[in-house]
C-alpha cells in the first residue's frame, strides 16, 4: 500500500487524448503503469510505481538502491506475474 517500486519505462502504450500508460520493467517482469503523475516521463526513464501509477521519476542510481532494499526485505513479492 505504501510501497513504491522503481522500474524502467520500456514503451509508452497510448497517448489517446491525455491518457498515458506505459510498459514498465521491474527486473524481468513487465507491468503496466499509468503516467498521470509523471507527464514528462519518456521511454528509458526510471519511475517509482505505486498501485499501478508512476508517482515520480527517479534516477538509475536511486532506482537500483531502492530495488536492492525491496529485494532484501521482501517487497518484491509484489512483482509476482499476473
Amino acid at each position: 500500500m505504501c510501497l513504491a517500486i522503481p522500474g524502467r519505462i520500456k514503451q509508452i502504450l497510448s497517448q489517446n487524448g491525455s491518457i498515458r500508460k506505459a510498459k514498465v520493467a521491474f527486473g524481468q517482469i513487465i507491468k503496466d503503469a499509468y503516467l498521470d503523475m509523471t507527464p514528462t516521463a519518456k521511454v528509458g526513464d526510471y519511475v517509482l510505481v505505486h498501485a499501478g501509477v508512476a508517482i515520480n521519476l527517479v534516477n538509475e542510481k536511486e532506482a537500483q538502491k531502492t530495488f536492492k532494499y525491496l529485494e532484501k526485505y521482501g517487497g518484491l513479492d509484489e512483482l509476482l506475474p499476473d
Binding site: M1, C2, A4, T66, Y73
Partner: protein, 493 residues
C-alpha cells in the same frame, strides 16, 4: 524470524487491488467485512545488524509513497535512543517538507482517487451529476489534469529543502543536512503563494481562502454551497454539494473513535526528541477522540503491544480506531483556538463521521497546511544552526509522526552500535486490515458494516468508503452470504 509479508489470496500483483470479503444479508446490508492484508509488514529483524543510519534510507526507500514521513519517523527513533536535541530551524525545515508531502498527496488523492467515484453511473440521475461528470471523470475531466499539476508545486517545495521526493536524504539525527539560503526560502514562499492562488483559490475554491475561512459551521457551509449554480462552484464546493446530494454524508460512519500521533513540532528552540515531547508540542495535536470525548493519547498500549517480543495488537485499548486526515482535523478543531479550523469538528458534533466528512477533512487540511508552511518559512533564521551534533549510544527508541494516510510508528533497538531490532507500524495496518492473525476488525471493516449496497454489481458505496479512508485505489469485493459464507459474486469497484 524473517521479515513477514502477510499475504492474502488476492495478493501478488504490483497494481493489485485491496481484496475485501463482504458478508451481506438478504437486504443487501453489510453485516461483516474482512480485509486481506497485502502490505509488507516490517517485522522484528528488519535491518538487524545494519548501521543505525540505514533505517532512515531503507524505510524511506521501501515506503516510497510517503518516504518523507518514514524518514522523519526513523530519525525521531534514533534521536530518542541517542537523547538528541534538534534546533528549531531543522524542525521548521522538516515540517515544511512533511507538510509538502501531505499537500501533494491531497491533490493526487482528490482528483486521481476520490472524486472520480462521484462520476459513477449510480448517481447519473441526481443533480449536479452532469457538472461532476464533466470535471471529475478520471483522465478526461476538465479538472483532472489541473489537480495533477497542482501536486507538482508542493513537490517542488519538498525538493528545495528535502531533495528529490520521496527519496531525498535530508533528515539526519540532530537536524537537517540541506544547505539553506535566502534564495531557497524566497523561492519556497513564491511557490506556496502560487499553490494558494493557482490551486486552492482558482481551482478548488473559486473564491479566496480568506472568504472560505469565514465558514466555520455546518450552516455557513450549506449557505456557501447552495447559493450558486453548479458551473459557478469551485471543485471543492461542487464536491460538497454532490456528496450531500448523492448521500455520502450517510455512509461510512464507523465507530467514531480516532487517534492521531501528532505532527509538526516547531515551537521550541532546542527540541529534545522523544515521544512525550512530541505529543506535547505537535502543531497537529496528538490525541484520542472517543466518540465526542477528547482524551490524551497514551502510547503505552501501542508500544507495549508492539514490543518486539509480543504478538502485536493493533487496536487501541481494545478499541478499533481510525487514523488519517479526518482524525487530524478533528483533533485540530478540538485543540486549536483559531475558529477557521473548527469546521470539521462542528460538522462531526452535529452530524457524524462519513465519506463526505472524510473528503471535506482532507481538503480542509490543504488550507491548514498551506497557511502553516507560509508561517514556518517566515520563522527560519539563517543565523541559527540547522543541526546539532549527536552522540550515539545503545538503547530503545520510538519515532512517531503523521503520514498522509495517518499515524506512523517506528520502533528501534540498537545494541553494540548496530540495529538489533526494527519495526514499522504503518497506518494501513491499523486502519484497514483484519485478517492479520490478531485483530478481528479494523476501522475500515467497521465503517463498511451496516452499509446498504444498492446494487451488488456496482457496489460504489464500498469503493467510496475505502477511498475516503485512502485505503486503496481499486477494490476486489467478494460478496458472501451472511450466514453460510457462500460466495455470491466477486466484483471490482
Amino acid at each position: 524470524m524473517s521479515l513477514a509479508v502477510k499475504r492474502g489470496t488476492g495478493s501478488g500483483k504490483l497494481d493489485r487491488e485491496l481484496e475485501i470479503d463482504v458478508f451481506v444479508n438478504r437486504n443487501g446490508v453489510v453485516t461483516n467485512a474482512q480485509l486481506v492484508p497485502t502490505e509488507i509488514r516490517v517485522d522484528i529483524d528488519m535491518l538487524s545488524g545494519e548501521p543505525p543510519l540505514d533505517s532512515l534510507i531503507a524505510t524511506s526507500n521501501i515506503f516510497g509513497f510517503c518516504g518523507g514521513s518514514h524518514q522523519l519517523a526513523a530519525a525521531n527513533t534514533l534521536e530518542h535512543i541517542w537523547n538528541a536535541k534538534v534546533p528549531k530551524n531543522a524542525l521548521l525545515i522538516r515540517s515544511i517538507a512533511q507538510a509538502s508531502e501531505l499537500l501533494q498527496h491531497t491533490c493526487r488523492w482528490f482528483y486521481g482517487t476520490f472524486a472520480p467515484d462521484l462520476t459513477n453511473p449510480a448517481f447519473a440521475n441526481i443533480e449536479p451529476f452532469e457538472e461532476v461528470n464533466k470535471r471529475f471523470t478520471k483522465h478526461k475531466g476538465t479538472s483532472f489534469w489541473n489537480g495533477m499539476k497542482g501536486a507538482t508545486i508542493p513537490m517542488a517545495i519538498y525538493a528545495l529543502f528535502g531533495g528529490h521526493w520521496p527519496h531525498g536524504e535530508f533528515i539526519v539525527p540532530g537536524g537537517v543536512s540541506t544547505e539553506i539560503d535566502q534564495e531557497k526560502i524566497q523561492t519556497a514562499k513564491q511557490l506556496i503563494e502560487k499553490f494558494k492562488k493557482d490551486w486552492l483559490e482558482a481551482s478548488l475554491l473559486n473564491d479566496t481562502v480568506a472568504n472560505y475561512q469565514q465558514i466555520q459551521t455546518l450552516e455557513a457551509l450549506q449557505t456557501w454551497v447552495e447559493n450558486k449554480q453548479p458551473e459557478e462552484l469551485g471543485d471543492f464546493a461542487l464536491f460538497l454539494r454532490s456528496a450531500i446530494a448523492f448521500g455520502l454524508d450517510k455512509i461510512g460512519e464507523g465507530q467514531n473513535r480516532f487517534i492521531t500521533y501528532g505532527a509538526f513540532n516547531v515551537g521550541e528552540t532546542d527540541f529534545q526528541v522523544n515521544p512525550i515531547n512530541h505529543i506535547k508540542g505537535a502543531t497537529i495535536p496528538a490525541g484520542f477522540l472517543n466518540k465526542k470525548t477528547f482524551q490524551s493519547i497514551k502510547l503505552d498500549p501501542f508500544i507495549e503491544a508492539n514490543s518486539f517480543f509480543s504478538i502485536p495488537d493493533l487496536n487501541y485499548n481494545d478499541k478499533v480506531v481510525e487514523l488519517g486526515s479526518l482524525a487530524r482535523m478533528l483533533m485540530l478543531g478540538q485543540k486549536e483556538k483559531n475558529p477557521a479550523y473548527h469546521l470539521v469538528m462542528d460538522i462531526y458534533q452535529k452530524e457524524q463521521a462519513s465519506v463526505f466528512l472524510r473528503g471535506l477533512a482532507r481538503l480542509q487540511e490543504a488550507f491548514v497546511l498551506t497557511e502553516k508552511i507560509t508561517s514556518w518559512l517566515d520563522q527560519i533564521d539563517l543565523k541559527e544552526p540547522f543541526r546539532f551534533e549527536v552522540e550515539e549510544r545503545d538503547g530503545f527508541g520510538v519515532g512517531i509522526t503523521e503520514s498522509p494516510k495517518g499515524g506512523l510508528l517506528h520502533l528501534g533497538e540498537i545494541k553494540d552500535g548496530k540495529i538489533k531490532n526494527y519495526r514499522v507500524i504503518s497506518p494501513n495496518l491499523i486502519n484497514v486490515f483484519t485478517k492479520n492473525g490478531v485483530t478481528k476488525s479494523s476501522a475500515l471493516a467497521v465503517n463498511l458494516t451496516g452499509t446498504l449496497i444498492k446494487d451488488l454489481n456496482n457496489p460504489i458505496e464500498i469503493g467510496l468508503i475505502c477511498r475516503s479512508m485512502d485505503a486503496s485505489q481499486t477494490c476486489k469485493v467478494n460478496f458472501l452470504k451472511n450466514r453460510s459464507g457462500k460466495l455470491l459474486s466477486s466484483v471490482k469497484v
